[in-house]
Symmetry: C2
Subunit: 319 residues, 2 copies
């Protein structure tokens, strides 16, 4: 008959590295480094809405933290501390052990201390809050893009959506392609090194969680700009080579969420710097369009030069 406190202690008590007081008191105590501002983000993941209830708990533990670390990366903040609140339908020891393994794997990969949390009974729900640090004034928001800035996206966006459609809707992919897409869905890689390197380079940035088009809309709104995307510049080959049909690939790239790639803007004068960064980080960075001074306008330019608005929007939990 393990009680709440025993459960927490047993699975979530690995030593913290840079936390004055972790867990077990009314609050955790952390000491920010001098002259830092703090970036704080909270995400709630609900079974049936954000993940299948039978998702492998180790993957789920990784992802619950990774999507939050990604929010910090998108601000150019260094991840430092995490707080985990868990509602569980039952105290399942094996599930908690596996979940903790995935969570700590992500925490160790990105230098995050699990500093505190809460555990209770209820329908499966994971709420993670993360705190990161950035030198005062250097965080990158959504509001700094200017007309003329180039639009960039990192990595291989769209694979997570293909993985979801393969699982949920039976979308056919190649064997190896399916494995790559499921890995993108279950083990997203927050682009922390990229986010930190883009401080002082990117004018605006966010992570793509709800789809490239939908999230681009947030940059355009925050920065009062429009954008034109070059269809020919979209990194479709990373999806086609997984065996996805062209239409599914395009839709996954433009409207699929869950990849947690960074979408950012920078002046054209920094193009070469960003290309060099791609080499240094061994991470593809794609220049896919340009911003303009027509607030809210978003157009795709096709290979034949024609312009049209995108047909898909991001995922909205209450639409």
């Amino acid at each position: 008959m393990p009680g709440e406190f025993d459960l927490i202690r047993r699975h979530f008590s690995r030593p913290a590295m840079h936390t004055a007081l972790a867990g077990g008191d009314d609050a955790a105590l952390v000491v920010p480094r001098p002259d830092m501002q703090l970036a704080v983000s909270t995400d709630m993941l609900v079974a049936g809405t954000h993940f299948f209830a039978d998702t492998d708990p180790t993957d789920l533990g990784w992802k619950a933290l990774a999507v939050n670390v990604s929010d910090l990366a998108a601000m150019g903040a260094e991840p430092r501390w995490a707080f985990l609140a868990l509602a569980l339908p039952a105290a399942d020891d094996a599930w908690l052990a596996a979940f903790a393994d995935g969570f700590y794997a992500c925490a160790e990969a990105f230098g995050v201390d699990l500093a505190g949390g809460d555990t209770t009974r209820g329908p499966l729900n994971l709420c993670v809050t993360v705190v990161g640090e950035a030198p005062a004034g250097q965080a990158v928001t959504r509001a700094g893009a200017r007309p003329g800035d180039e639009l960039w996206v990192s990595g291989r966006p769209g694979r997570a959506a293909l993985g979801l459609w393969a699982l949920r809707d039976g979308l056919a992919l190649s064997g190896e392609g399916r494995a790559r897409c499921l890995a993108a869905l279950h083990r997203p890689q927050p682009r922390v090194a990229l986010g930190l390197a883009l401080r002082g380079l990117a004018s605006a940035m966010l992570d793509v969680s709800d789809g490239l088009i939908g999230d681009l809309g947030h940059i355009l709104e925050g920065s009062r700009c429009g954008a034109q995307i070059e269809t020919a510049a979209l990194p479709l080959e990373n999806l086609l080579d997984c065996g996805a049909p062209h239409d599914a690939a395009l839709r996954a790239l433009l409207s699929g969420g869950d990849d947690y790639e960074l979408l950012f803007t920078a002046t054209a004068a920094r193009h070469a710097d960003i290309a060099a960064l791609a080499d240094r980080l061994d991470l593809p960075l794609h220049c896919i369009g340009q911003l303009n001074d027509r607030p809210g306008e978003m157009l795709l330019r096709a290979a034949d030069g024609s312009l049209q608005p995108p047909q898909m929007t991001g995922y909205d939990h209450f639409a």
Copy 2:
């Protein structure tokens, strides 16, 4: 068809007072004051476990923040920022408006900025994370009590439990008593002023959320002490005057949670200082016992001098 982002904006967009960037970006940005350490606490409240699904949403909004602010009070930390993650079965405009009213009423009462959050669809679940500040090294933990220290509790502990039993089990109270006990249950008052005043006075402190006896156990464990409680010193009159029978009053006081009073220890040399604090804050503070050097031992001394262990323990969500 209001979308997720519209809902959040409409109800949770009151201006922040001391937040560099609140809401609407990947993360909020906050700037701690110099030489402060941060206290961070997360609590998850689940319908059916922590509150009735039909609880008045204004009360629920107050309480969701109040229980977290109370955790900061219990560290002697000044509440500064809150982050709210909400899972809702449906986007209910009237419910959200009322909930936001209660939440902001508590935020304004205690100087807290709602700096960020998340909203999603799912079984009703509220996860609040709060961040407070204390001068480095001055936060009060559970680990500093010493044998000989006096044990104190604030306010009128037990009323919230009586209110719960009145609602759930039909416990009969006087008309006015019932109203007082329901107010204690629905609108707990975090003891922030007391918590701040006890920095440098209290040797250990926590807030009573799971019952006085159960929570005292956490101080004894953290401080490696035992304790003897004087039954005659327990503030039973605050429960008896609500019309509660003696047995229910004693049980509510010792094992009822949800009052969020502060339980703390201090050397006997500070007794007069603490009594003076009660006057200054116009808040009853009761010296109910003393700590000793028998780790883990907890005994109640009855009026006839006999000693016995308490018969009730705190509430455990997974027991």
